[in-house]
């Protein structure tokens, strides 16, 4: 299936290659570079690129292109999902998935890739199994290894590989048993000029950090499970219990994992926590324009909006911006034409405002369209959908674990049209 993998930085540096069958020359990436150039933005690179003898399927993540080489028919999503899994594994191992960390840990990366695919077909992708085969680097361990010459590589087959719960390793032991769940919701929305939502939906995930000894069997229930419309689960979750009782019943993997993701569709009314009053206009003459943006709270359920950022992709003819912000800082990058206004915490008493003039390239016609605004924000201690975890029960083990649930709401793809 997957013949080879090339990692290419955003700057175009091909810094890692790995082949699972016979070697394919890295010159195959020229086709990728060609497409990359044509796409202008890295996001616009087509995920599947056809070359005379191969197909290149790529993803762009953390400023790295993961370019895989395919020779025969394979579902493209299969490859894309796998590449994402590779990136997630790196993140899991090294704390972040970046060019630097991959270069620093190139041997472990290579060992991981070797275990994750055999002859191009996925072999071990579960984090718990991989960690038994190849231990993640820690400062202490790498020091000990240097002195003793002992290795990072496991010598026996990970227990999970043969069990029916491959995601959990056996013999887990903790002195303090803890289980934390983060309910993270992102609002995807499009607001029109007048501020009404053309479309809004919620994408939620529940991230878990479970550090429990032994083989605990957990049941997580919600106060209002009916809210959840379209759900997908980590393989550990029993579909049947969800179908019949609307509870999440599972034997958790050890450590961090994403328990489930859900989607609350546009049919339900989605609360929009923020409103934007904006007036951006370009004048016919004088090569200038005006900008006036005010942000205020809408349906925040009594919580504070934090980390508020407004991003505007200006038309190409905008040369500079001369603005003043009543709160926060703004920055206009004349190369990328992106205006970023970092507001921070929203004070409902004194609404932040950004106002001033824009200067345009002289002689150029005034832009057809006003740029749309992208909003970023964060609300702590609130799941905007109203989803509430009811309780977590532990079966199969005697101890009483420490349990915690955290809620946070963020703006996902939140766009205001102007």
């Amino acid at each position: 299936m997957i013949h080879s993998l090339f990692l290419i930085s955003n700057a175009g540096d091909l810094f890692l290659e790995k082949h699972w069958k016979s070697v394919i020359s890295r010159s195959v990436c020229d086709y990728f570079f060609e497409a990359r150039e044509k796409a202008v933005e890295p996001d616009n690179v087509p995920p599947v690129i056809r070359t005379p003898h191969h197909y290149l399927i790529n993803i762009y993540r953390e400023k790295i292109f993961f370019v895989s080489v395919i020779q025969t028919e394979v579902p493209p999503l299969f490859v894309i999902e796998f590449l994402h899994r590779v990136a997630e594994t790196f993140q899991d191992y090294f704390g972040e998935c970046s060019e630097t960390t991959i270069k620093d840990n190139v041997v472990i990366v290579y060992e991981l890739l070797e275990e994750m695919l055999d002859n191009g077909f996925p072999l071990a992708t579960e984090s718990n199994i991989l960690k038994e085969l190849i231990r993640p680097p820690t400062i202490l361990r790498s020091m000990v290894n240097t002195i003793t010459g002992s290795s990072n590589v496991g010598e026996t087959l990970p227990t999970g590989q043969l069990s029916t719960i491959p995601w959990r390793r056996a013999g887990v032991k903790y002195t303090s048993n803890e289980a934390y769940f983060d309910v993270v919701e992102e609002i995807d929305a499009i607001l029109d000029k007048s501020g009404t939502a053309v479309f809004a939906e919620i994408q939620g995930v529940i991230d878990a950090c479970v550090k429990l000894s032994g083989m605990p069997d957990l049941t997580l229930s919600f106060m209002n499970p009916r809210l959840l419309d379209d759900v997908s689960f980590h393989p550990c979750v029993r579909y049947k219990r969800w179908e019949s009782e609307r509870v999440i019943s599972f034997i958790p993997p050890d450590g961090n994992f994403q328990l489930m993701s859900y989607h609350i569709s546009a049919q339900n009314l989605v609360a929009i926590p923020v409103y934007v009053k904006q007036n951006i206009s370009f004048f016919e003459t004088g090569s200038s324009g005006r900008l006036d943006i005010t942000v205020g709270p809408k349906q925040t359920m009594g919580k504070t909006l934090e980390c508020l950022v407004v991003t505007v992709h200006m038309p190409k003819v905008v040369l500079s911006a001369n603005l003043s912000a009543t709160q926060g800082t703004y920055n206009y990058d004349p190369v990328t034409k992106i205006l970023v206004w970092d507001i921070g915490k929203l004070n409902p008493q004194k609404l932040p405002n950004l106002k001033g003039s824009l200067s345009l390239q002289s002689g150029a016609p005034k832009p057809e369209e006003n740029p749309s605004l992208n909003i970023d924000l964060k609300i702590q201690q609130l799941a905007i959908s109203g989803l509430k975890v009811n309780r977590l029960d532990v079966y199969g083990e005697k101890y009483k674990p420490f349990k915690g649930v955290k809620y946070v709401t963020k703006a996902g793809k939140f766009q205001v049209r102007t």
């Binding site: 028919e73 070797e114 038994e132 990072n152 087959l157 939906e201 550990c236 546009a266």
Partner: protein, 972 residues
């Protein structure tokens, strides 16, 4: 893991201490005299593992950067047997990378792997096989083959999985090995572990995807294992099974219409008793049996459905394409929610300015396809915002989308056209040009009504510069010059003026316009045309010169002009078909959804065509699994009903097992659990039935001793119980028990829900043989609920019936409350349409839902009819030939007299006795419940225990099945 680290510690310790002065690593840095990689070679030759490891790490880093490290091969390969596992692994990495280039040296390492293959540690065996099979050196093919064969029967499933992975490797190295490899695949396909399943199917797909015969016996197992297979394997298996299903099952959608017709007929047939009608129906039935989904087909659909909730998008997509290609149309909707398709999700496809281009184009396509009369205004409003986007390619795509909406939805054509005309005054020329092109296409559909737009376009020619748009306008004016008779010549005049400065495509259209005007309005345009043609004659472009010469010959009559001249008008002004505005994504339906080929709309190497459905279904019995005893049992199965029930219920139970897979398999094997419940069940059975006699329980024990899945039927006058025990419970995950309850004599109770599966709720049912008063065409089914739980069961009711087309169900009224320990009996009606297909539905309590199914024995599909002897003979006379089935039989020992025969027959089928003069003959008559067809049964006894059975019924299927059941009853 602590043991292993201790082990490596020991290794580290046992190695001799390094002499720091000799550290070649540091030497390498400072000494420029070292040859390339000499420092690394020295480190590899040292006897200290940490140095070797360091060297290997640096070498692997080189490989990762794509630098050539092949000259180190001899130094590295020496370390293949190194005790340090990390060094070893890195050496493996190196070997696999360079073995192809250094074949001779690579052979040195082979013996190490051969030794590794025998190692007691399964991880070492597996990795030895992995590396051995990854070394692409042809000379070791026989060794690989042997290793794969051996590993395929390894105790460890992990090693067997590795063997499955090795198969395609060897196949690509030496395709000659295919036949031997197929044998290994066949063997591994039979493997029962989830670990192996995905990998071996992958091997199957790469080596012998056309050998679907290998799948038959493993089909049900693969379906049942699916939910527990790792996600990557799931994708491969689902894709393969999609293809398999296309070759083995019938198209669930093909005779949808036909089916409705025939079922309707069957329904009406009960009202009007005209024989002819019925006969006609029988013949159609014969020709084309109504579509009945193969239970195996259903099994696949059912077992893949929960995977829609997988976190892995590839799995979700695989299930979606499976439903798309295999499911009845009505069920395809379930994938919509998970995928976010279809109308209610319209707004999810609204486009943000920050979306990547390919996403924008796809969303636009979806929006266009979702557009209909109801939502078009919303969509058009949305499109209007897209037209203002800064991304001009996207704007062009949006305009085309508007054009497509306009062609698809007649009502909004004018609105769209007006919108597009407004765009003509857009500042951006690209936008205008694209609009002109689209407007041209739209106008071609109804030019008469839009001469004002054509006029408007004619005015545009003064301003618009994009050649394609100019060409489009000129074509439009030429084509519809009769609608704008005054403007057209004027446009030609202007164009003649600017001819020399125009682009080639515009010039061609000017010539075209001139020719058309010359033909329709030569008075005004003759000179202009001559002028244009003269200009073209001396054009630099030979296409234009050619065109000018060609057109002149055609339109200007001269002495030499040929016969074509008089047809010139017809040639130029022929009515042209309106263009179809097509989706850029059309024409790829023939590829399997979600495949690379589908995405690219071109066949990728190794793509397996999705076959068309077969005309008639291949033999479904090929999928029956060869389990001991089951074959003889199937063939001489005691009754049709039994066989049917097993067939249907098997997937059903396995499914529920499968769904809870992770749960149960987590702590105990499925087998253990079901056999435990099985013994529990038979235990409870023996306690509850006190009326049983000693001899019977002995017999039953005998049964168990024999461990045979055999139905033991005891004489009804004495015995009240039948038990069926399954010997291979584990294999089929089902326990089935039928027994007759003592008080009601010949009425058998069937189990609908066992109290263990039902979590305390036990449900039994019987065919009460009472007419079902609310609807005489329904069979009455009496259902008894027993609540064995400690709490009340509430709101017992039926949900979600899944019936074959034509079948109907009348639910019992909801049971509001059922106290602990109590039993409640209700009656429901089912119209089985005179078939023994099961009625599937969900039994719901206030907390749970259970999938259950009721399947009638053929004898329960009829109701007694009273006939006189003469009537009987008359009716029998009408049902001769194909409608009569004769069968000879030997009566069982206990069928000593007429009385017993009557009892046996009436127990098997719900018929009434017809008075008869002869004591050698017993006659019975009945009607099928649903369609009211007569069923006549005659048993003629002969001397010496012989007998002849005659069944007359126009429903031949019913006749055949009934014969079997009665034969069975009488020969016992």
């Amino acid at each position: 893991m602590s043991a292993s680290s201790a082990f490596s510690d020991e290794k580290g310790g046992s190695a001799s201490e390094p002499e720091y002065g000799h550290d070649p690593a540091s030497g390498g840095i400072f000494s420029s005299d070292y040859k390339r990689h000499d420092d690394l070679k020295e480190m590899l030759d040292s006897n200290k593992d940490s140095l070797k490891l360091e060297a290997m790490k640096r070498i692997v880093a080189m490989i990762a950067r794509g630098k050539n490290a092949s000259d180190l091969f001899p130094a590295v390969v020496k370390n293949v047997a190194c005790k340090n596992i990390e060094v070893k692994k890195l050496v493996y990495v190196y070997l696999v990378r360079y073995a192809e280039e250094q074949q001779d040296l690579a052979l040195l390492s082979i013996s190490t792997f051969q030794r590794g293959l025998k190692d007691p540690n399964q991880l070492i065996r597996a990795s030895a096989l992995r590396v051995l099979s990854s070394i692409r050196v042809t000379i070791i093919v026989p060794i690989m083959m042997l290793a794969i064969k051996e590993a395929a029967s390894d105790m460890s499933p992990y090693v067997r999985k590795t063997a499955a992975h090795a198969i395609p490797k060897l196949h690509s190295l030496d395709p000659e090995q295919k036949d031997q490899l197929i044998e290994v695949i066949e063997k591994l396909l039979a493997d029962k572990t989830t670990l192996v399943a995905g990998s071996v199917v992958m091997a199957f797909e790469e080596v012998c995807p056309d050998r679907i015969d290998l799948i038959h016996k493993n089909y049900r197992k693969l379906c049942n294992l699916l939910i527990d297979v790792e996600e990557w394997g799931q994708v491969v298996i689902i894709n393969m099974l999609t293809r398999y299903a296309r070759t083995q099952f019938l198209n669930p959608n093909v005779n949808e219409s036909l089916l409705e017709e025939s079922s309707e007929k069957a329904f009406y047939a009960s009202d009007d008793e005209e024989d002819e009608d019925k006969k006609a129906e029988v013949t159609t039935l014969e020709k084309r049996k109504p579509y009945v989904m193969d239970p195996d087909h259903r099994l696949l659909l059912r077992n893949t459905k929960p995977l829609l909730q997988s976190r892995n998008a590839a799995v979700v997509m695989a299930v979606a394409q499976l439903y798309f290609h295999l499911a009845p149309k009505a069920e395809v909707g379930i994938i919509a929610k998970a995928l976010g398709m279809f109308e209610p999700y319209l707004k999810s496809f609204y486009i943000r300015s920050t979306d990547p281009t390919q996403i924008k184009i796809l969303k636009l396509e979806v929006l266009t396809n979702l557009a209909n009369e109801a939502n078009i205004s919303t969509i058009l409003r949305e499109f209007q915002t897209y037209i203002k986007s800064m991304d001009k390619d996207f704007v062009a795509a949006s305009i085309q989308a508007i054009g497509r909406c306009a062609t698809n939805i007649g009502e909004v054509r004018d609105t769209c056209l007006n919108g597009l005309v407004q765009l003509l005054s857009n500042r951006d020329e690209l936008v205008v040009a694209e609009s002109v092109v689209v407007i041209k296409k739209l106008l071609q559909m109804q030019p008469e009504q839009h001469s004002d737009i054509i006029k408007h376009m004619a005015k545009l020619i003064d301003n618009i510069q994009v050649p394609m748009a100019r060409a489009s306008i000129l074509w439009l004016i030429g084509e519809y010059c009769e609608h704008v008779p005054k403007i057209a010549p004027d446009v030609l005049r202007k164009m003649a003026k600017s001819f020399t400065n125009e682009e080639d495509i515009v010039k061609l259209q000017i010539i075209n316009l001139a020719a058309k005007l010359y033909l329709t309005n030569s008075k005004q345009t003759k000179l202009l045309t001559q002028y244009v043609l003269n200009l073209a004659k001396y054009d630099q472009n030979y296409d234009i010169r050619d065109r000018a010469r060609f057109i002149r010959q055609l339109i200007v009559p001269t002495d030499k002009s040929g016969a074509l001249n008089k047809y010139a008008k017809k040639l130029f002004l022929a009515l042209k078909p309106a263009p179809v505005l097509e989706s850029p994504f059309k024409d790829r339906d023939h590829f399997q959804l979600g495949s690379l080929s589908h995405l690219l709309n071109a066949k990728a190497a190794g793509y397996q065509e999705l076959p068309d459905w077969p005309e008639s279904a291949p033999d479904p019995s090929v999928r029956n699994v060869e389990v001991k005893d089951s074959i003889p049992d199937w063939s001489k199965c005691s009754s049709r009903k039994d066989r049917k029930e097993k067939k249907v219920e098997k997937p059903f139970y396995s499914d529920s097992e499968g769904e809870s897979g992770p749960t149960e398999s987590a702590d105990s094997g499925n087998c253990g659990e079901s056999s435990a419940s099985g013994s529990d069940e038979s235990g409870s059975g023996s306690e509850s039935e006190e009326s049983r006699e000693e001899t019977e329980s002995e017999e039953e024990e005998e049964d168990e001793e024999e461990e045979k899945k055999k139905r033991k039927k005891l004489d009804k006058t004495k015995a009240k119980k039948q038990a069926e025990e399954s010997a291979e419970r584990c294999a089929i995950h089902t326990i089935h028990q039928i027994r007759t309850i003592a008080p009601s004599g010949s009425i058998k109770m069937y189990e609908l829900l066992h109290r263990i599966t039902g979590e305390g709720l036990a449900v039994e049912y019987c065919f009460s043989r009472q007419p079902f008063s609310p609807d005489p065409n329904m069979v009455a089914v009496q259902i008894q609920f027993t609540n064995n739980t400690n709490s009340e069961t509430k709101n017992l009711h039926i949900e979600d019936p899944r019936l074959q087309s034509g079948m109907r169900i009348r639910e019992f009224a909801e049971i509001g409350l059922q106290p602990t320990g109590e039993s409640v009996t209700v009656v429901m009606g089912i119209d089985f349409c005179d078939s023994t297909q099961a009625a599937n539905f969900q039994l719901c309590t206030h907390t749970r839902k259970f999938f259950v199914s009721i399947q009638p024995p053929v004898g329960e599909l009829m109701t007694p009819t009273f006939l006189t002897e003469n009537n009987f003979k008359k009716e029998q006379g009408k049902l001769m030939g194909m409608n009569e089935i004769l069968e000879k039989l030997t009566l069982g020992e206990k069928c000593v007299n007429e009385h017993v025969i009557v009892e046996r027959v009436t127990a098997t089928a719900n018929l009434s006795r017809v008075p008869c003069g002869s004591d050698k003959e017993c006659r019975f008559a009945g009607k099928t419940v649903s369609s009211g067809c007569l069923v006549l049964v005659t048993v003629t006894t002969k001397e010496g225990g012989g007998a002849q059975l005659t069944v007359n019924c126009e429903k031949m299927v019913i006749g055949t099945m009934l014969v079997k059941d009665i034969l069975q009853a009488l020969s016992q």
